[in-house]
Amino acid sequence: MSTTEILFYFLSALAVFSAIMVLVSKSPVHSVLWLIVVFFTISGHYVLLNAQFLAIVNLIVYAGAIMVLFLFVIMLMNLNTQTEPQKHIWMKLAGVISGGCFLMVLISLVRQAGDMQGKTALMKTGNIGLIGNLGKALFQDYVVPFEITSVLFLSAMVGAVVIGKK
């Protein structure tokens, strides 16, 4: 087993474990922290897949900006374990079961999917994930959607202002 494979398994295990911890943590702050761990593991996967740019962006945007925002809001609201509302056990069970069903159905699909047999994701090689290539593609072929996202941001901005101001 090569190093990359070991890393893959380790990161995957950590990601799944942390994701579960996000769910089961009583305290919202813990959840946020576990989520940040998930993001880190995913960034690790990106690195393994040689998508360095996305790895960095993921860390900066998600772990850095978004999660901090979350943390900030949670702190602001002073939410903690005691105030954390819990769902009824049956509701939880139903949620887990239906989520599990969803997972099972999809996985059984993938197992039958013939066109995925023998395909591999290229690891550590390939240069499409490099910032130069991405940048070229983004500003040539994808310039229209890129510009259009500005509208999205504008609307989010206006929205945040409308909602946020007293």
Binding site: T4, E5, S12, A15, V16, A19, V22, L23, S31, L35, V38, F39, I42, H45, Y46, L49, A51, F53, L54, V57, V61, Y62, A65, I66, L69, F70, V73, M77, L79, P85, Q86, K87, M91, A94, G95, V96, G99, F102, L103, L106, I107, V110, R111, M116, K119, T120, A121, L122, G126, I128, G129, L134, A137, L138, P145, L152, F153, S155, A156, A160
Partner: protein, 111 residues
Amino acid sequence: MPIQYYIYLCLVLFSIGIIGVLTRRNAIIVFMCVELMLNAVNLLLVAFSKMHHAAALTLNPAATTGIEGQLFVFFIMVVAAAEVSVGLAIIVMLYRNTHSVDINFLNRLKN
């Protein structure tokens, strides 16, 4: 790495996100679980992008196939950021009015 492994991993993460949405009452946590789902999608996209890239490389060593997947991830992150700003604004607004972020209390509108 065989692509199935990535698919399984991402589906597991995605489903954990769904389960989180279904089992938690705190609006912020629910929202975080949605983010988890998005990240699972992102990872899968990158994995697929690399898979297609690998396939393309066998024919053309200079192929850039697969790059659109990574760009898509980029756009998802952008959108996610925008959503977070709006979402948190809404949650804060609600908290200001009710001092609660419990979605089970959101039941003035029903039937």
